[in-house]
Symmetry: C2
Subunit: 363 residues, 2 copies
DNA sequence: CGAACGTGATTAAACGTTTAATCCGATCGA
DNA sequence: TCGATCGGATTAAACGTTTAATCACGTTCG
């Protein structure tokens, strides 16, 4: 069991079998004209030696690195693991590696991150843009994951439909007085979710919207949201646009003596990992990240294959390439349905008016 | 403002200035013998053209890709964002890109992920091993982030000291009856944390340990932990080895009518992003991931520089290279102190025996 | 004054792969 | 039987960079 001493290269296989390197390359790629018998022997030898092509050599020749860049608004975002994992799987399945980059929430850093990825020679970039940002035309193939209301080559979850889902669920449970909790109206995603919810809450259902950043701007960061009072005023369901806010609501209510789901229901969005780890487990709306990532990567690879490698003598220019040679973003708009995950924080509206213990909490 | 048409290459700068490509390369690298005047002109031209060297060409020649691999036990792990972000920063500062790989919790996948990274030509690998796994000698330079009790070239937080920190804090608050909550005793990290706590809890303080996986094996996954009963039996502090478990404990206690921190204290580990978003905010122990990542990357780059590129004719073998030519892992063991973050879930032990509302919760 | 030296630049090879162009026989059709 | 065709393999160039070896030339020293 001698450990692999040197990375075997094409010429080694070639000389060992008495053929040329080109033949070996062709055989392994299944491209040129190689006899089936020869091809078989070559594949066998390659397997025996544990041959793996040098990405560097290949990249240099083909102009393709087989690597995608993933730029995120903020790696520390709790949703990030889901995204990264899904993209990594999808990319890996498509034969690509994933290089990560962090915009650290900063829009300047975001463009810098993109440039750095390009310098590293990525073939394409998946961007989850900082909220409110639009991705201008950069030189590389790009796929954006955001919300369907983002223009450009976008794939995303159908946040609007997700909003409808959860609102309908609460309606079905009998709730008629809801509080929608969001963080910041600038976010396309949050707006879509809220919009979806609103679109269902017509007729005799009433609701109001609490934007946390507004509230904190007035009362200080990390302040109490005052949900207990809301509950006393008759709100029986708290629908947050993110599990994070749902968690905040849940703990604030529980700490104030409001029983969930007996006295009030709480729902979230995103199905973060810990949403089953809390008691009661959180009712939420799940993004099918696997599908989203798959579509994003598929769109990206399509773009990559369509565009000629950057520095290639193009003799007879195809009728599809633009003047600049940039890939024509086909601007596909795909949206993937979300799924309601029923757990324990949502329940039927209480029959009698909720009995909330008197005030007197410190802070 | 003509957009960069083609990626400029060395020879373009060279011909434009009437010198050879080698001189340009030397000037930009600051290596060979180039007159300061010439170097300046070259740098200016390079900047003007926005020249960026082709990683492919460089990698092929030097055998170095300037990319590190990051292998994680499970990308979906909530701690992952912190780790990934820190590693990405550190690597970026050191001039490296970061390629991610997911072991999906599976040990077989872990080795496969490592191999894939190697095939992609990474210069070194940072591994956060699946719990209980030992990283055997793979061909590449490796840095492991786990716990100090892991053998090999490791850097990690000082989980033991972190345990001491939080236990001492609870002692100082007057708690004498604690429940330590862990998930699985196989984890080095969790063991260290528990061990550190235990080491402080001597004398008249009593405690017991609850391993969640054991408990769930008996009562079903996601079951109630029975903390209310513990509280009634006199436990006043619940110290979890992870914020995740702390959150579970907190919500279970709150839902059962136990006031935190008035009736009981709860503490966690890791300072996950949402730990300030809950009410009351979670007292926890923070890992200095930035420093850990920095040290891991530093150790890795040192190893990389020390080891000769894989396929280089080594004529006069240095006296340091081993027979196999593998990098001699110097097996540094660095541990970075943790920091106690005081928030609202920990408070003084209640003066009178805790008044817990009667049982009667529905599951 | 010739040899040694130092400085600044050039030449050429090499990294490992892909691919267009080419070559060599053998087979086939006319 | 000759030319065209085709299958199967080879040759050679190219991708963009780095670097050891070399060169030209002016200076300095013995």
């Amino acid at each position: 069991m001698s450990a692999s001493r040197q990375r075997p290269k094409l010429t080694q296989i070639a000389t060992l079998l008495g053929v040329s390197a080109a033949t070996v390359s062709n055989a392994l790629a299944g491209k040129g004209r190689v006899s089936e018998e020869m091809a078989e022997r070559i594949r066998a030898k390659a397997a025996e030696l544990g041959y793996m092509p040098s990405q560097a050599g290949r990249a240099l020749r083909t102009g393709r690195s087989q690597v995608l860049g993933l730029v995120l608004p903020n790696i520390a975002n709790p949703l990030f693991p889901q995204i990264a994992q899904a993209i990594e799987h999808a990319a890996s399945d498509a034969g690509y590696g994933v290089l990560i980059a962090d915009s650290r929430g900063d829009v300047a850093t975001q463009t810098r991150a993109i440039e750095q990825l390009q310098d590293r020679g990525v073939d394409g970039i998946v961007i989850v843009p900082r909220r409110g940002t639009r991705i201008a035309d950069i030189g590389s193939p790009v796929a954006v994951i955001d919300s369907p209301s983002t223009p450009g080559n976008t794939v995303s979850a159908d946040h609007w439909q997700g909003g409808r889902l959860v609102a309908q669920h609460l309606l079905d449970l009998g709730h008629r007085n809801l509080l929608l909790i969001g963080n910041n109206p600038v976010s396309n995603v949050q707006n879509d979710r809220i919009g979806g919810m609103k679109s269902v809450l017509t007729g005799n259902a009433q609701f109001s919207v609490l934007w946390i950043e507004d509230h904190e701007a007035r009362h200080g960061k990390g302040c109490i949201l005052g949900l207990k009072e809301k509950a006393r005023e008759g709100v029986t369901a708290f629908a947050a646009v993110s599990d994070l806010h749902a968690l905040r609501a849940l703990t604030e209510l529980q700490g104030a003596g409001v029983r969930v789901p007996d006295d009030a229901s709480v729902t979230g969005f995103d199905d973060l990992t810990w949403s089953t780890a809390i008691t009661p487990a959180l009712t939420t709306v799940h993004m099918d990240m696997a599908t989203i990532a798959e579509q994003a990567v598929a769109a990206l690879t399509a773009l990559i294959e369509a565009a000629p490698p950057v520095s290639q003598k193009r003799e007879h220019v195809g009728h599809l390439t633009t003047q600049t040679g940039k890939p024509v973003a086909t601007a596909t708009q795909k949206s993937v349905p979300m799924e309601l995950i029923l757990r324990q924080t949502s329940g039927p509206v209480p029959s009698k008016p909720t009995e909330i213990p008197p005030a007197g909490e410190k802070q």
